[in-house]
């Protein structure tokens, strides 16, 4: 099960924060900060797996992360998920974002935080992997966007 998905930039500013298990707000922010510090220490040529920090759960949890340009994508998972599989999942997620936003960059994530959440919702639900087929995900997102547009009054 995936406990949390965090996306932050090279300075630690959160761009996407999604927890699949309840933590109070202060703890959530602390986790983001701690994870950032742990991940920042890592060189680029060492493995992408970190034993989890003390806050986010005990020894069963691992942090699996990938670094793309200015962003870190961190998935905190327990032992029921395959580590190498999650690495691929992160890749799928980023590629999906790329397809939805057309050459996605950090600004897209900043200004369309809600859309990123919606895309994530089609990939991971309740801490479990829902769909991994990129085309399927993109199709569903586009259908939902069309539904929104068709409703009168574009509000956001």
């Amino acid at each position: 099960m995936i406990q949390a998905i965090l996306v932050f930039n090279n300075h630690g500013k959160p761009r996407l924060v999604r927890f699949y298990q309840h933590f109070p707000e202060e703890i959530q922010q602390q986790i983001v900060r701690e994870t950032f510090h742990l991940v920042l220490k890592r060189d680029d040529n060492i493995c992408n797996f970190l034993e989890g920090g003390s806050l986010i759960g005990g020894s069963d949890y691992k942090l699996i992360y990938r670094h793309y340009a200015t962003l870190y994508f961190v998935f905190c998972v327990d032992s029921s998920e395959s580590e190498l599989g999650i690495l691929d999942l992160i890749q799928v997620f980023v590629e999906t974002l790329d397809k939805c936003f057309e050459n996605v960059c950090e600004l897209d994530l900043i200004f369309h935080m809600d859309k990123v959440h919606y895309i994530l919702q089609e990939v991971v639900m309740g801490g479990m992997v829902l769909e991994t087929n990129m085309n399927e995900i993109v199709a569903q997102i586009e259908a939902q966007n069309r539904l929104e547009k068709s409703e009168v009054r574009q509000v956001l």
């Binding site: 999604r18 809600d114 309740g126």
Partner: protein, 825 residues
């Protein structure tokens, strides 16, 4: 009230803030605006406001006042509102707030909505944060959706069902009928989530697991799907780097693992497909490796055939040599899991694992360290220890404590010699002295006391170690203790193992005093040092006054612990000087109380206690064998098996009833290792046999019910009577109790009764109650014979009696033929 600003505007504004304080100000202003807008109950802009609120929440600002607004949005008819409302609910609410229950009705309605995306939103929210009450209420709806033909909804319903099962395990049965058709789907999304659902059900309930194995024939179905995936060739939609839906493959492999664990039939059914996947998967990209890795884990976990296991370990070995760090990490992790079961196979890769200790990556180093400790055994201890000590020198501080503890454990278990052991301990203490765990100090001290011949060498090395540097507390503690204990060996300048150093008593006291004074010494260390100084007062000769002075100074120390010690030691000098030398004597060897794990004293390698039954020689020396030989001669030939009786022990004759004696004797059978009553039999197979028949149950027929007793021998005033009992559990066993009585006017002493039976029988003689038959029938000797008669032949026995009577040695042979039929039929 002007229209609230758009989310985009807000974000842009916040990004212009140059300091944290500026940002906080902007946010607070916006929050106030949002709050007033909420108060106005404005439907048009509500979703905009909630979106902004969620953004601020992500940055870490409180947003709880938006919770109710989210609920209002969920209740709205518009998809746009619902979308942001549900997102807000998932991010801001959780089951600890009572507010969330208000959602239940909305979700129920939305689960039945005409638009599939609305249904999807509801399923998603329920599956993320549904509380147990909500799940109970809505489980029926979820189950309905699990059977729908809409694959978009079906896959979400499957994951939602997983969440429901996690929250309310009793509802698992409800979803069982719906799972029947799940695996017939073509849509990979549904397949994937269905496998997740089935995995969850199997993991949670062993009944479900059994059900799926037998009734649903799940394994063949999964094998079929997996085969299609591998064989199907290029399928562009699910393809990731040339492999067809690797995520689904991995999931199926995991479910196969659970199904095959501890189950032979299932394991057999999947052997082929596992071999196929293992050999056909391309390993050039990460996806291929992910599948291979999962396959290996599955092979190791089920009851696979050995060829497959070897294949799996070899794959792991290849992984270890891969350039990709992730693969190496993953390989080390799985080797750690398999080292318990397939130890030898993993040993083959030991050198590669040891090389990983030198890797730059912290995670890999940690794994390699754990694995190295698991691989240490008696054969490779020297080589491995060299590598591990080198690792200890150069590793990061976070590893040092674990590494030191591991080294101590390994050294204790497999040390080839005491000297090597002490050297290793010294090396660890000097290199990582401050990281050694506190509980290691008493263990080490106990170890040192046990190696008596190494005391001089140990104390010398410890002394030299702290001469230079006394900042590492555990090292100083051990050294102080040893110097206090063996200081006399130190100054006497004797040492066999290495060049003895010349140390004077003053120098020793110098170093101990510096430890006491030093700022780096903790209170515990100071306590050790003070006690050591005190102990030296009995071991040193010329510096007792100095010691007295030191001790009296610390009588006024601020540290209460030190003060107490010093005051007591002072008293020892003044009032109780006569007791001092006795009190401060050399400590005896300490016994280890093994409370923590596998730490045991270095005996030999934990071999089994020698089985006392097996080759125990006859206890009473050469005499009985000659007598037995006599019996053989007399009885002419080899159809008799001689029996060597037990040596008559000096057990007090229990003059109680026969039954008590019987039971008393039978207790012996349970403890064959006790020396006074060794198993008397040369043939190994006997004792368990007969003993089995007579273990702790009340086995015997009542004497009244039973078999008439006979007089086996009556001559010269000596009468021997046999009484019989048959075992309830083992009808081939007859227990004969003999009673020897003496009607003459003098005692018969050194009475020994021996018996022999035909070869088809087996006989066991237990110890007699005494060796003196008292005169005038005032008492009897009782002895128990157990006879095994598997072929139910007629019982015959030759007996031989020897005793001293009226000052002369008597001996007689007789045959007993009058056994009643009930005693052997």
């Amino acid at each position: 009230m002007p229209a609230p600003i758009r989310l985009r505007e807000l974000i842009r504004t916040i990004r212009t803030a140059r300091t944290q304080a500026e940002e906080r100000e902007m946010i607070q202003k916006e929050c106030a605006a949002i709050r007033s807008s909420f108060r106005e109950e404005d439907n048009t802009y509500r979703c905009r406001n909630v979106a902004k609120l969620l953004y601020m929440h992500m940055l870490g600002y409180p947003a709880h006042f938006g919770q109710l607004e989210c609920l209002k949005l969920i209740a709205s008819q518009k998809f746009t509102d619902k979308r942001i409302g549900y997102l807000g609910a998932m991010l801001l609410l959780d089951e600890r707030q009572d507010v969330h229950l208000l959602m239940t009705n909305c979700i129920k309605n939305d689960l039945n909505h005409s638009t599939q995306f609305v249904q999807g939103l509801a399923l998603c929210t329920l599956g993320c944060m549904g509380s147990s009450e909500m799940c109970r209420d809505l489980a029926g709806e979820v189950e309905k959706l699990l059977k729908t033909s809409n694959s978009y909804l079906r896959k979400k319903a499957a994951l939602c069902a997983v969440h429901v099962i996690r929250k309310v395990p009793e509802l698992m049965e409800m979803f069982l009928p719906a799972t029947k058709n799940l695996l017939n789907e073509k849509n990979h999304g549904v397949l994937h989530t269905s496998v997740v659902l089935l995995t969850e059900m199997c993991e949670r309930s062993p009944d479900m697991l059994a059900h799926f194995r037998k009734n649903e024939k799940l394994v063949p179905q999964l094998v079929r799907i997996l085969k299609n995936l591998i064989m199907s060739g290029y399928s562009p939609e699910h393809d990731v780097s040339g492999i067809s839906d690797p995520f689904l493959q991995v999931r199926i492999l995991r479910l196969l693992r659970i199904l095959g664990r501890n189950d032979d039939d299932s394991s057999e059914a999947m052997n082929d497909i596992l071999a196929q996947v293992a050999t056909n998967t391309e390993t050039s990209k990460n996806v291929g490796n992910a599948i291979l890795y999962e396959t290996v884990l599955t092979i190791m976990d089920i009851k696979s055939e050995s060829g497959l296991r070897v294949l799996a370990i070899n794959i792991l070995g290849r992984f270890l040599l891969n350039n990709d760090k992730n693969i190496r990490y993953v390989a080390l992790t799985s080797l750690l899991k398999t080292v318990q079961t397939d130890h030898n196979a993993v040993q083959r890769h030991r050198s590669t694992i040891v090389d990983c200790l030198k890797d730059l990556d912290v995670s890999i180093k940690r794994r390699a360290m754990e694995l190295s400790f698991a691989l240490v055994n008696g054969n490779n201890i020297r080589g491995m220890m060299k590598e591990l000590l080198y690792f200890l020198d150069s590793c990061e501080p976070e590893f040092k404590a674990d590494c030191a503890s591991g080294i101590f454990l390994a050294a204790e278990k497999y040390a080839p010699s005491k000297r090597w052991h002490i050297d290793t301990i010294m090396r660890v203490l000097t290199t990582a002295g401050s990281y050694v765990r506190d509980d290691a100090v008493p263990n080490l001290i106990q170890l040192i006391t046990n190696s008596v011949e190494m005391h001089a060498y140990t104390v010398q090395r410890l002394y030299k170690a702290i001469l230079g540097d006394y900042s590492q507390q555990p090292l100083v503690q051990v050294a102080a203790w040893c110097i206090g204990e063996y200081g006399d060996l130190l100054v006497s300048g004797q040492c066999e193992e290495e060049e003895p150093i010349q140390v004077t008593e003053d120098e020793v006291l110098d170093i101990l005093e510096s430890v006491l004074i030093s700022n780096m010494s903790t209170s515990v260390t100071r306590g050790y040092a003070l006690t050591a100084i005190m102990k030296l007062s009995t071991r040193f000769t010329c510096t007792v006054n100095r010691i007295k002075k030191v001790v009296s100074i610390y009588g006024s120390s601020i540290d209460v612990e030190l003060q107490q010690r010093a005051v007591e030691y002072n008293a020892l000098f003044k009032k109780y000087d006569h007791m001092r030398s006795a009190l401060l004597e050399r400590m005896p060897v300490m016994e280890k109380v093994t409370t923590n794990g596998p730490t045991e004293i270095v005996q030999t390698n934990g071999e089994t206690e020698p089985a006392p039954l097996e080759t125990k020689p006859p206890p009473s020396g050469p005499q009985p064998t000659s007598q037995a030989n006599d019996l053989l001669d007399l009885l002419g030939g080899n159809d008799i098996t001689p029996v060597i009786p037990t040596a008559p022990t000096s057990k007090p004759a229990s003059a109680g009833g026969e039954l008590l004696d019987l039971l008393g004797d039978i207790n012996l059978t349970g403890a064959p290792a006790t020396a006074p009553t060794p198993a008397p039999v040369p043939q190994i197979s006997q004792p368990p046999f007969l003993l089995d028949g007579l273990s702790s149950q009340p086995l015997f027929n009542d004497i009244a019910a039973g078999i008439p007793s006979i007089t086996a021998y009556s001559k010269n005033g000596l009468k021997i009577e046999f009484t019989f009992e048959r075992s309830n559990t083992n009808p081939s066993v007859t227990v004969i109790t003999i009673q020897a009585s003496n009607s003459t006017e003098l005692d018969m002493t050194d009475f020994v009764f021996q018996a022999a039976v035909p070869k088809t029988f087996q006989l066991q003689l237990l110890s007699p109650s005494s060796s003196i038959v008292p005169a005038f029938n005032t008492g009897t000797i009782t002895q128990v014979i157990k006879v095994l008669n598997p072929q139910k032949q007629q019982l015959r026995m030759r007996i031989k009696l020897t005793y001293n009577h009226k000052g002369s040695a008597m001996q007689d042979l007789a045959e007993v033929n009058n056994f009643p039929p009930q005693s052997w039929q």
